[in-house]
């Protein structure tokens, strides 16, 4: 008999974000301005659990819902209890607050253990089912970290489940296709990317939920190891509003003006670099700086200012040696700069000035990603970034490549020019099994101790990285869009990695540093870093890392892998994507196809057809065409979204497009708020018109 634990999270309703929901100074969200709701993907996880329970056909199996949060988070448990969940547990305690993903996963894993003991009588035939990620953090780290803590297999991005031969077969998304797998043996952690039929509340269950006393556990009840701020491995340094990513949101009344805009924008020749703020000065470690007390690489503006004042004061007082500062010189400094900082701060800053070497030691690594044949392009982008970071720190660039039959791929990596290549070659790594891979990669990282490790934020990287980092006891920041070296001299941190990422569906940016860790780890979205123009000049020294893997290290059986045929290059100047609004495959081919054709005929650009996840799931387009976080991240000049609602995962994947154009019949489609130009109307009507005008326009010139 299988039982199910569904993890749910209460999140601010980011779909309802209004301009006044943020404190513009600090970029922090004013929580009271936004409604709290259940995380959308968690509702799909509930539906998946319900489906599994029915497929399994066991009346006595239970679905228990678990959440961690403040007392008001029991609202989401009531939501679940109104939808056929048998029981619910709220994990709530002040000491659990302020947690990062590690300090969230750890207590949740301990709560899972307690549920298994107390609700399931220690029966370990159970599944932990979670939404792939939450809309507020969207890190997708907690489920794999729970799997790591509980030492369970993890199957990510599941879109369907079937019950065959007495076991569940899960179908999930992989790069460019889908894969059906089964776990060797439950328990297992499952993350859900989509379930088409979310459950409806029944009146009777909803009333029952209202009247129920929900089980509450506090921190001492579960006895977790890593909780709250102290158990966290990362800390947020600052939060700020996203810069220029603000879209025009201009509504167009007719397709004629849209045709004009497509023509204009297709001619824009803005070099990519112009869109990014590249004016940043290059980081050097304090020991390599010309001015002795130069501390102008601090993580916050305030700290940079304070250090500037301090160094000016020291200069004024003719102090050149930190070690000669005594009580009376401190008084002098405070006399001059006292209105800027107090004694305690001065002590911290002076202590900081003593440090001139980097806090972390070791190289900067990239964990290469591949599909067994080809290295993922994001790996090369990251190697370029790693080299820049390594250069700042005066260390080497390393690449870790794990798999079987690596010869060809190794050559490609050598060509990219890192200093060192760590090869883990083993036949059991022929196919991607998260359990075996995480063991191999963590072992290699653990024995060479680089100071920074970067992963690509692809479906696979977003599962592997949290497992590896958790296993090594290190912090991890997901989906970074910018990585810089910084100092936090006042807290005695020099030359550390400042990891900046969007949060709350791209509505804020957060800069994060790693703490309580030996290694700083981050994943970065494909496409955000520039592919290096030329190979690095590293020697490409190969270091083979031996690993002992047993068959028991494999956690899953791969039943079927289907990668859609044909190569699709989404690295074009224009992408025309179709969503569920296309209704059927014929429409998709006809409408997307005709628009692509008209643009190709009339404008001198490269173009490709794309699709949303929903369109792929409904069979309108092949998986290789999927654009978005779980598909391909793209950065065309013009992205044209037809009948795409604008789910957050899709928008993340097109965030780097120069111009976004949307056509949708729903005037409320979220995509309009994130596009530059939009037209309200059905694609069946608007596309043929647009094609007509594109053709006319060309004739008239």
């Amino acid at each position: 008999m299988s039982n199910y634990i569904v993890l749910v999270k209460q999140v601010p309703d980011v779909s309802q974000i209004t301009d006044n929901a943020f404190d513009l100074e600090t970029g922090t969200l004013i929580r009271t301005r936004l409604k709290s709701v259940i995380n959308e993907l968690d509702t799909q996880a509930l539906a998946m659990a319900d489906q599994m329970k029915h497929q399994n056909g066991d009346e006595h199996s239970k679905i228990i819902c678990l959440t961690m949060g403040p007392p008001m988070a029991q609202e989401v448990l009531k939501y679940a209890l109104g939808r056929r969940v048998d029981d619910a547990v709220l994990l709530t305690d002040k000491t659990l607050g302020g947690a990062d993903t590690v300090a969230t996963a750890n207590p949740l894993a301990f709560a899972v253990k307690k549920i298994v003991r107390e609700f399931f009588n220690n029966n370990d035939d159970y599944y932990v089912i979670c939404g792939m990620q939450s809309v507020d953090g969207d890190t997708a780290q907690v489920p794999p970290q729970i799997a790591e803590e509980l030492n369970l297999p993890c199957i990510a991005y599941v879109t369907d489940v079937a019950y065959k031969d007495n076991r569940f077969e899960f179908t999930g998304i992989i790069a460019g296709g889908s894969q059906t797998v089964a776990v060797k043996k439950p328990p297992a952690v499952i993350t859900v990317a989509e379930h088409k039929y979310p459950l409806f509340a029944t009146f009777a269950d909803a009333r029952k939920a209202e009247k129920m006393d929900i089980t509450q556990w506090n921190s001492p009840d579960i006895n977790a190891e890593l909780i709250g701020v102290n158990g966290s491995k990362t800390s947020v340094i600052r939060v700020f509003p996203p810069g220029k990513s603000i879209r025009k949101k201009q509504k167009l009344e007719n397709t004629q003006s849209l045709a004009k805009i497509i023509q204009q924008k297709s001619k824009s020749r803005t070099p990519e670099s112009a869109r990014k703020n590249n004016a940043q000065k290059l980081y050097r470690l304090p020991k390599n700086r010309v001015a002795k007390f130069n501390r102008s690489f601090e993580a916050t503006k305030k700290e940079n200012e304070d250090f500037k004042i301090l160094s000016d004061t020291l200069k004024k007082l003719n102090i050149t040696d930190i070690n000669r500062i005594n009580r009376s010189t401190k008084e002098q400094i405070l006399d001059v700069a006292g209105k800027h900082f107090h004694k305690k701060a001065l002590d911290d800053m002076l202590n900081g000035l003593e440090l001139t070497n980097s806090t972390f030691k070791g190289d900067v690594w990239v964990v290469a990603e591949h599909d067994g044949r080809e290295i993922h392009p994001a790996t090369f982008e990251l190697i370029g970034k790693a080299a820049a970071l390594a250069n700042s720190l005066g260390v080497n660039t390393g690449v870790c490549l794990a798999g079987a039959n690596l010869k060809k791929m190794t050559e490609k990596i050598i060509h990219a020019g890192p200093d060192k290549i760590y090869l883990i070659e083993h036949q059991l790594l022929e196919q991607f099994d998260p359990a075996a891979y995480r063991k191999a990669v963590a072992d290699c990282i653990g024995s060479h101790l680089p100071q920074i490790v970067l992963f690509a934020a692809t479906p696979r990287g977003r599962m592997l990285a949290p497992m590896v980092s958790y296993r090594l006891g290190c912090g991890l920041t997901a989906d970074c869009t910018s990585l810089d070296i910084t100092d936090r001299s006042r807290t005695r941190n020099i030359g550390i990695l400042l990891q900046t990422r969007p949060a709350l569906g791209g509505n804020v940016m957060a800069s994060i540093c790693t703490k309580n860790s030996k290694i700083q780890m981050a994943t970065a979205r494909p496409g955000v870093f520039k592919m290096p123009d030329k190979p690095l000049n590293g020697k490409g020294k190969i270091i083979k890392h031996k690993i002992k893997l047993e068959h028991s290290d494999r956690s899953i059986d791969i039943i079927k892998t289907s990668v859609a045929p044909g190569e699709v290059n989404l690295n074009t100047e224009i992408i025309v994507s179709g969503g569920k609004g296309m209704q059927n495959r014929d429409n998709y081919e006809k409408l997307v196809g005709s628009l692509c054709e008209a643009i190709k005929q009339n404008l001198d650009v490269t173009i490709e057809k794309g699709a949303s996840r929903a369109a792929v799931e409904h069979g309108l387009a092949d998986r290789v065409r999927q654009v978005g976080q779980t598909g391909t991240a793209v950065k065309p000049k013009i992205y044209i979204a037809l009948g795409i609602s604008g789910a957050i995962q899709h928008m993340i994947g097109i965030a780097n497009a120069e111009t976004i154009i949307a056509v949708n019949s729903d005037p409320n489609a979220p995509i309009f708020k994130q596009s530059d130009y939009y037209i309200v109307g059905t694609v069946e009507q608007k596309i043929p018109e647009l094609v007509k005008y594109l053709n006319l326009q060309n004739q008239n010139e």
Binding site: Y197, R207, D666, P667, F672
Partner: protein, 556 residues
């Protein structure tokens, strides 16, 4: 009783968590704390489907809350919601696009002379948002342990054939696809049983109308409606200060009514300030307009561009928009049992806008909705052991009340206007209470092939309007708007009236697709039900979509 049945039964079931339903629940819980009171609401959240001007007479709020929640006046919410007391009360007459004059003195004179429309003065009332008011009353109800379940839409009632009591209320099926096929997550609508049923659905309630039919209740006069469209506009500080936060403006004349030379429609414009530099602008039009190409939103555009209105809102940005109907026919249209006169029957009573307790002389119904909820609660509390007498007692209480008195004074007003048109009807209405009751026709029969002469050049942007109403429905469900017979559209409507539903629907739900009128975008629907009332051939039915769909008003 097994567990499931236990939760499908409540002592009191209130359909609709608006001001009337919530007032009933709060008052009743205070009278009898042991009662199991359950409110269901089709909106996703409290207040989401509530739209009004609104000017509130505060007395009923005192009656309700002084007892249920003695400290209410000191709460932050009360202070915020009742922050704006009316101090200035303007009635403007607009003549053309530019000219307007203040005719408040006429009303003041009427008041002195004790004429009906002297009631139209609003001084010392409060300017409120009914969405906010509802949300606040809801939070009070929840604190009192009243069960308040949002996202559940009801569609029908079932009566006991023997004694005419209502046995159960049926909820909407969930999980059907567009063609009505069951999806894997299909759940049939549950039947909820209760000893007492209170219908508080608001204007033209789906369950209420079904109940009226099944219980054979009657209206002396058909219900007459108005359609209101409203926008909440963020304006500049100086515009707001110029308007002031304590002034209400009611406008007559242009663009609805231009005696002799232009259109003749009953209604007018409103300008109400809202907190924090927001001003609400709206148009209310009697649904008996005759123009096939008229759309209240066109009138709103013209009104907004009138020089008097424009100066307060020009360059402002619309932050919310919505549409709703108002039941205006007054006392003669309150449904009751032809034998006993009860407003409802046996254990089932009708309150608020569902009953039609709007006083057209005051252009207000909110206070009466709250009062009717209070009387409903009293009637239930007195009949705990004899539910079948509830409607009788409720009607007695209503008839002894101020509510009835003022409804009676306004009883003939709207009918007089409907009968004689605004030009003659309005002056005549001053003595309406002396005139006999007129026979009037349903709004659905008013449409003609006439055209509205002031139609603006530019088409109203309904997409943005619907987006500003933040309306949303699950796409994959059967259309909740039904065209009964498409042949009627083709044969009788399109040739004469040009398919007016395409024009008058404020959210562009109706479209012509392959020469056939279809409710093509049901997910845009604002639940205003104008289509059901205004279709010239009575060929459209509004049914309830899955719960939690519809607009999401926050400050309307």
């Amino acid at each position: 009783m097994n567990e499931k049945n236990k939760y499908n039964k409540a002592d009191v079931l209130i359909v609709g968590a608006g001001p009337a339903g919530l007032a009933c629940a709060i008052h009743l819980k205070k009278k009898n704390p042991r009662l199991d009171i359950c409110l269901i609401e089709k909106a996703a959240d409290l207040g989401n489907h509530n739209l009004s001007g609104a000017v509130l007479e505060p007395e009923p709020l005192h009656t309700l809350l002084d007892e249920a929640c003695p400290q209410w006046k000191n709460t932050d919410q009360a202070k915020e919601i009742l922050a704006q007391k009316v101090q200035k009360d303007n009635i403007m007459f607009c003549l053309g696009k530019k000219i307007s004059f203040n005719i408040s003195f006429v009303i003041k004179l009427a008041k002195i002379l004790h004429l009906g429309f002297g009631q139209m003065l609003h001084k010392d009332d409060y300017i409120v948002s009914v969405s906010e008011l509802t949300k606040w009353l809801g939070s009070i109800a929840r604190n009192l342990d009243i069960e308040l379940l949002t996202g559940f839409a009801a569609e029908d009632v079932f009566l006991d054939n023997q004694n005419g009591s209502v046995v159960s209320v049926k909820l909407v099926d969930q999980g059907l696809d567009k063609k009505g096929e069951k999806q894997p997550n299909y759940i049939p609508g549950e039947k909820i049983h209760a000893d007492f049923i209170v219908l508080a659905e608001g204007c033209d309630g789906l369950v209420t109308e079904s109940f009226i039919e099944k219980a054979k209740l009657q209206r002396k006069s058909p219900q007459l409606y108005s359609v209101g469209v409203k926008e909440l506009i963020k304006v500049s500080q100086s515009q707001y200060e110029k308007f002031t936060s304590s002034r209400v403006v009611h406008a007559m004349g242009y663009p609805l009514w231009r005696p002799l030379i232009g259109p003749a429609m009953f209604g007018g414009g409103i300008i109400y300030p809202a907190r924090k530099n927001h001003i609400a602008v709206g148009i209310i039009v009697g649904a008996d307009w005759i123009y096939k190409d008229f759309n209240p939103q066109d009138a709103l555009t013209l009104f907004k561009n009138h020089s008097f209105v424009g100066k307060f809102i020009r360059n402002g940005s619309v932050v919310e928009a919505g549409a709703k109907m108002i039941p205006e026919a007054g006392l003669y249209a309150v449904p009751n049992d032809p034998k006993t006169g009860t407003i409802g029957k046996a254990n089932c009573i009708i309150t608020g806008d569902s009953a039609g307790f709007v006083n057209m002389l005051k252009i207000k119904g909110l206070h009466n909705a709250i009062y009717s909820g209070i009387y409903a609660a009293d009637a239930i509390a007195e009949n705990i052991n004899s539910p079948q007498f509830t409607a009788l007692r409720y009607t007695e209480l209503i008839k002894k009340s101020k509510l009835y008195e003022e409804m009676l004074s306004a009883a003939n007003f709207r009918q007089t206007v409907a009968k004689f048109g605004p030009l003659i009807g309005l002056p005549l209405s001053a003595i309406a209470d002396l005139l006999p009751r007129f026979k009037v026709e349903q709004d659905t029969k008013s449409m003609t092939a006439a055209e509205y002469k002031l139609k603006p050049n530019q088409q109203f942007d309904k997409d943005t309007f619907a987006a500003m109403a933040d309306t949303q429905h699950r796409e994959e469900q059967p259309s909740h708007l039904k065209i009964l017979d498409t042949e009627i559209c083709k044969q009788k409507c399109t040739p004469i009236y040009d398919s007016p539903c395409i024009t008058f629907c404020p959210a562009e739900v109706y479209e012509i697709i392959r020469n056939e009128v279809k409710p093509a975008n049901p997910s845009n629907c604002l639940h205003c039900k104008t289509c059901q009332i205004k279709c010239p051939l009575d060929n459209i039915r509004w049914t309830a979509p899955e719960g939690a769909g519809g607009p999401r008003y926050k400050r309307m």
